[in-house]
């Protein structure tokens, strides 16, 4: 429990966990007083301490303000490792490799869709595969599957699911280098065959939203966002293929740690040195998972575009659906940062954290380079989402990272219990949000009260100068598994 862990308040938005015991670096949690209060009921601060004990960790073990109790790493955790002395941890990436968000803008306004939202939601729900074990429109044979794993979103574009300009605004152009399908198990490949173009279950969703408020006119204009505009947010990842890659490597690394006598504070933190064959193999397999996820979100965007055009009887030009940005929030990446005056390549783990590079960074798409990278923060059902933009402070303090969502405060079982006897979908309808989900259980688990206040989380990032608020999006419709 948190009471065992000593924390000092650094400023209004940051808590420091001083180095003690086996910690190689101190911990920093981005939290205001409201969030600090919520930390008391879970184990996430302990997890920040555990991560600080891993070999080769640089500067700090970090947690973003949406931090909550995960397994191994906390969710909202960020940690960077030295390439020669540090490790890569599959648990520090998570099972859903390259789980992420994709925001699409349209030429439509609230006025254009407000009477058609029911039809649109139903059509989206019928056309986009959701739920456990859902299979996609795309069936991948051996050769094509390997191409997906190597080429990512580009495979989808070449096969007719979108246009090349979508790649320009996808993180890393929708493809991670170094992917090697030979490092992916037969089991993982099998699970990936039928799930391309599926949303999945749990907290994954597709939401139709409108731009409710603009905080920064200049940046919003650069992102092509304006008040009352209709946008779509997709949240999903690499499906069964990614889960299996993580699980396979985790099992191998636990065995390896046992054989070589590496002591782990939690087996879920099992890791391998970045410069070891096992570490390199994991990164090559993880890149395959990341590429699959980018192809998945690209196919889903295409399906969404088709539904909008057909249901609203619009031509592609009239709809004008284009990709604002696609970010991953479960990933390990080799990126360069200035550490004590020296530029160093590090392996940054983001487990439930979004990259947030500032203006001028060469990884920011050319069209946004003058303002910075879009940071997409989905909230819980009904409260909508935020679009933020990366700031220079992120490069100094958080290895170019920001939060990824609201973060749970209530366990799923508590949420289901407290939603018993209520109709969550009716409550959502009363708030003006049409919700369609495969199971009532999902709606209960994902009800708004189960999450932290998104405003608190976003405000901490904004005030810390890590990412700046650009626009608030409000939900109109949501489909879930």
């Amino acid at each position: 429990m948190i009471s065992e862990i000593k924390m000092e308040r650094l400023d209004e938005n940051r808590l420091l966990i001083p180095k003690s015991g086996g910690m190689k670096v101190p911990g920093i949690i981005y939290a205001n007083e409201n969030i600090q209060h919520l930390l008391k009921s879970d184990e996430s601060a302990r997890q920040v301490v555990n991560v600080a004990q891993l070999p080769g960790i640089v500067n700090y073990s970090l947690a973003m303000p949406d931090v909550h109790w995960g397994y191994g790493f906390p969710i909202g955790g960020v940690a960077a490792f030295d390439l020669s002395t540090g490790v890569v941890s599959p648990g520090g990436v998570g099972y859903d490799i390259n789980c992420g968000c994709r925001l699409m803008a349209t030429k439509l306004t609230l006025f254009d869709v407000k009477d058609k939202i029911q039809d649109l939601t139903l059509a989206l729900y019928n056309h986009i595969p959701t739920g456990v074990g859902s299979t996609g429109h795309v069936k991948l044979a051996g050769k094509d599957q390997k191409k997906v794993l190597l080429e990512g979103a580009n495979w989808a574009i070449v096969n007719g699911f979108g246009s090349p300009e979508d790649l320009e605004t996808t993180e890393d152009g929708g493809v991670m280098a170094g992917a090697d399908p030979e490092k992916v198990s037969a089991r993982a490949l099998e699970r990936g065959k039928q799930q391309l173009g599926t949303l999945g279950a749990g907290n994954h969703f597709l939401e139709v939203e409108f731009v409710q408020e603009i905080f920064d006119e200049k940046v919003a204009a650069a992102f092509g966002l304006q008040k009352d505009q209709i946008v779509v947010m997709i949240h999903t990842g690499s499906r069964g293929l990614g889960y299996q890659i993580c699980d396979d490597y985790l099992a191998a690394m636990v065995k390896h740690a046992h054989e070589t006598g590496i002591a782990l504070p939690d087996r879920q933190l099992a890791c391998a040195y970045l410069n070891s064959p096992r570490g390199r193999d994991y990164l090559a397999a993880m890149a395959c998972g990341a590429n699959y996820a980018w192809a998945n979100r690209q196919v889903l965007m295409h399906l969404t575009r088709e539904v909008f055009e057909k249901t609203l009887h619009l031509t592609p030009r009239q709809l004008g659906m284009r990709l604002v940005y696609d970010v991953c929030h479960n990933i390990a990446k080799i990126e360069e940062f200035n550490i004590k005056g020296v530029n160093k390549k590090l392996c940054v783990h983001r487990k439930g954290a979004t990259r947030a590079f500032p203006a001028g960074h060469e990884s920011v798409p050319v069209r946004y380079r003058g303002v910075g990278q879009p940071v997409l923060i989905p909230g819980n059902m009904g409260t909508g989402s935020y679009v933020m933009v990366g700031q220079p402070r992120a490069m100094e303090e958080t290895f170019g990272s920001a939060c990824h969502g609201a973060g749970r405060v209530m366990s799923r079982t508590q949420a289901v219990k407290s939603s018993r006897g209520r109709s969550i979908s009716r409550e959502m309808a009363d708030r003006g949000v049409v919700v369609m989900a495969g199971s009532k259980g999902t709606l209960g688990e994902e009800m708004p009260e189960a999450y932290k206040k998104l405003e608190d989380v976003v405000q901490v990032m904004h005030e810390s100068g890590i990412a700046k608020k650009v626009a608030k999006l409000t939900a109109l419709a949501c489909i879930k598994g």
Binding site: W69, Y95, G202, V254, R412, G441
Partner: protein, 144 residues
């Protein structure tokens, strides 16, 4: 004796599993996993016992806890990877590092099996397998 109970975890779901013997602990862990994912099977389904298939699995681990996780991983893969629903589990032989179990099951049919939650994985976090006065207790957290 209760076969299992759910324990609270913020983002995921935890389970405490009981058994008088190690064999019973492993068998009950399968009941818990399947009931969590698919809920209780109705009696009309269990009448079709003759249509079931059997499979035997052979799983290893570096110690009892690792074995417990690897065993559950295997059962979960049968569902997630092969679309096969385990109905009954008979551990034939269990040591601290090795289990051989005979499984009875059937192919997943969406109209017959109602999926309650998707379990992505069985995690090592907070894992324990302990002997108590009355038998064995295993704790595991699933990523959902």
């Amino acid at each position: 004796m209760k076969k299992y109970k759910l324990i609270d975890h913020t983002a995921d779901i935890g389970c405490e599993i009981f058994g008088k013997t190690k064999k019973e602990l492993f068998a009950n862990s399968v009941v818990a996993l399947l009931e969590l994912m698919l809920g209780r099977r109705s009696s009309s389904e269990t009448k079709e016992k003759e249509a079931f298939e059997t499979k035997s699995i052979n799983v290893e681990g570096i110690d009892l806890e690792d074995l417990f996780i690897n065993f559950l991983r295997e059962v979960l893969y049968l569902f997630n990877g092969e679309g096969w629903v385990v109905v009954d589990c008979h551990p034939l032989q269990v040591t601290n590092k090795h289990i051989i179990a005979q499984l009875t099951g059937e192919p997943y049919i969406s109209t017959k099996h109602q999926v309650k939650i998707e379990i992505k994985a069985v995690t090592y976090h907070g894992l324990s397998v302990k002997k108590t006065k009355t038998g064995w207790v295993g704790r595991v957290i699933y990523d959902i």
